[in-house]
């Protein structure tokens, strides 16, 4: 009898929070600028972008991902103000303890607050994700549009190079790069970006090839637009959809790779911490302090899941032809 009472109590207690959580989510969904700044209605004769964003808004999973991401990014930006403790403040006598009211994700072996460390880790993870994606975007778009625009033998040669590079074990080269040029964060995102541009180059080249024979490009060419102007003003804006979609999908890939390198000890170096290096520390101590791996791992997984939701949603929204078959 004694054992049943608390379990009943717990069951009663559990219901309202889940309803409340749902209501909270609904409110957050409405309040969030990310959701509310997207088109609220489908107008006739709206621009393709307006239409695409409307489709995105209708996609529940994508909006859920966007909302979660907005929370994470905001938390990462505001970390110095939100964090309850300095991120490298140790408390040796306190040591590693499971979550309590003051340290609500627990502490690590040096008594550092895990919530603070996960929060600061998110800054590194997001920064690497975004910056490395920008690097890959720059290289990929430049390479792909040159190949597509020049065409002919140059195009053939450039694409052969991409084909060859595709067959290589890339992470090994990133590791070699990190070993050679030192394990600092600037090298990290350059190395990651430098190996992530292949697919982007292929996509852009394909788009440029198909766009450059269209009438509006030909007419611009006829009135004497320079190749540079042709590319920037006429071709690339029309290839933006696939570029945006693929860039969104590159961010989680890069974040995962950063975490992978940091996990192996080749990425971010202490006292800085990223989600990968936190997971690595956690894995080393997990037998005794399982929360040290669980929370950073959870943060990384939820972020990657949200980015994948958003990426899939954007693809469906910007490229309706692809998905109509599925």
């Amino acid at each position: 009898m004694k054992q049943r009472a608390p379990s009943n109590e717990r069951r009663v207690l559990r219901r309202p929070p889940s309803q409340g959580a749902r209501r909270l989510l609904a409110i957050a969904y409405r309040l969030l600028p990310t959701a509310s700044c997207l088109p609220q209605s489908r107008q006739s004769g709206a621009s393709p972008w307006h239409d695409a964003l409307w489709r995105l808004r209708k996609n529940r999973l994508a909006m859920l991902g966007l909302t979660a991401l907005a929370f994470f990014v905001m938390a990462a930006l505001l970390a110095p103000w939100i964090a309850p403790f300095p991120f490298d403040k140790t408390n040796l006598p306190y040591g590693a303890r499971p979550p309590t009211r003051t340290h609500f994700l627990g502490t690590d072996e040096l008594g550092r607050d895990l919530f603070t460390r996960v929060l600061y880790g998110s800054r590194i993870s997001f920064a690497v994700g975004i910056l490395a994606t920008l690097v890959s975007l720059t290289i990929g778009v430049t390479y792909g549009s040159i190949a597509g625009l020049v065409g002919g033998r140059v195009d053939h040669l450039m694409m052969r190079v991409v084909d060859i590079l595709y067959g290589l074990p890339f992470m090994f080269f990133v590791i070699i790069l990190m070993v050679i040029f030192g394990r600092n964060i600037l090298n990290l995102f350059i190395a990651l970006g430098a190996v992530q541009w292949l697919t982007m180059a292929r996509i852009v080249r394909g788009q440029v090839l198909s766009l450059k024979t269209r009438e509006f490009v030909l007419s611009a060419q006829a009135i004497g637009a320079s190749p540079r102007r042709l590319l920037i003003r006429h071709v690339l804006p029309n290839a933006l959809g696939p570029i945006v979609v693929y860039a969104t999908l590159t961010v989680p890939a890069v974040m995962l790779e950063e975490a992978f390198l940091s996990f192996l000890g080749l990425g971010v170096q202490p006292p800085m911490a990223s989600w990968g290096s936190l997971a690595s520390e956690g894995a080393a101590a997990m037998e005794t302090y399982p929360w040290l791996i669980l929370f950073p791992g959870l943060a990384l997984t939820v972020t990657l899941l949200s980015l994948n939701f958003l990426g899939d949603g954007l693809r469906d929204a910007l490229d309706p032809q692809i998905t109509s078959g599925r």
Partner: protein, 305 residues
């Protein structure tokens, strides 16, 4: 077909040359040699070591020497394990890494393929949503998070499986699942999409109209067409399995190539890092070739030229 394979293999040579040269010069341009230690070595000892590894010769001669050695299949001595050559270390680790990689691919293909077929056959059913949610989750969980968590539950918590190490088949279960989950998820999505595409086509209707049993329709007629995207994915997947095995071998203390690679990268053991990268590149090129040949075999529309 034989001519095609031969031409592809010949085409590997310039690629390998580029890989070897690139990694060689990157390694040599790096500041700090492999024998830089906290304690400065006596001048004579240092000179002797450098002479032994031919580091005292001009760069181009080192390069030519390395190229001719690699050409003969000799990847040189390991800098960190002076009594071992890189070839020996690779030969020691490769069977282990290969076993792990093949088991992971087997997990991915059987679990992912079965889930994809079922989801594709019952589109928009509860089963479909369930498998696809699992697939999305599987794609988003990094293997270095999944590995420790599985270890925590099944080895430390339940005590069903050994925590780490190598030896019996039991040691193989957790690493294979850890490594295979991502690909199982991806394969499930690919198979489902392929299934949806194939199942609506005329020849499937004909097969059903002939009165074939459903199992035969699915397995003999629909499946070969539906798994074509999966076969294409096998090339990149094998590359990623190699990469992933680095982490999984580290987590589960498996003495495969991946672990050597990480420790040698951390120790600046140049010949070992270079040798592993070259070895993996050859492996991948070969695997991509096999995949292409397999694809031509499965899809008669593809002409091998």
């Amino acid at each position: 077909m034989l001519g095609y394979i031969l031409r592809r293999v010949v085409g590997f040579l310039p690629v390998l040359l580029v890989i070897v040269s690139l990694s060689f010069f990157m390694m040599r341009l790096a500041p700090g040699g492999p024998f830089d230690q906290e304690r400065a070595l006596p001048e004579q000892v240092r000179a002797n070591i450098e002479a032994r590894y031919h580091l005292d010769q001009p760069l181009w001669r080192q390069y030519v020497r390395y190229l001719s050695d690699v050409g003969r299949g000799d990847l040189g001595p390991s800098f960190r394990y002076p009594d071992r050559s890189v070839n020996e270390l690779l030969a020691l680790g490769f069977p282990i890494s290969l076993t792990l990689g093949l088991c992971a691919l087997a997990v991915a293909l059987t679990v992912g393929g079965a889930a994809g077929v079922l989801a594709g056959l019952r589109r928009n059913s509860f089963l479909d949503y369930l498998t696809m949610s699992f697939a999305l989750g599987g794609i988003s969980v990094p293997n270095f998070v999944l590995g420790p968590v599985l270890m925590l539950i099944f080895a430390l918590g339940m005590g069903w499986l050994p925590v780490a190490g190598w030896g019996t088949w039991k040691h193989l279960v957790l690493p294979s699942v850890t490594l295979g989950t991502f690909y199982a998820a991806y394969v499930a999505r690919l198979t489902r999409a392929g299934m949806l595409e194939v199942i609506g086509q005329d020849f499937i209707r004909t097969a059903r109209a002939k009165g074939l049993r459903e199992g035969s329709v699915v397995l003999r007629h629909a499946l070969p067409g539906a798994i074509l995207p999966v076969v294409t994915y096998l090339g990149p997947a094998s590359a990623a399995v190699l990469t992933g095995s680095v982490v999984v071998e580290t987590i589960f203390s498996i003495p495969g190539i991946g672990r050597y690679f990480v420790s040698s990268a951390l120790n600046r053991d140049y010949t070992m890092v270079l040798g592993t990268a070259v070895f993996y590149s050859v492996l991948l090129l070969l695997f991509n070739l096999i995949v292409d040949v397999l694809y031509a075999y499965l899809d008669p529309r593809v002409q091998v030229r």
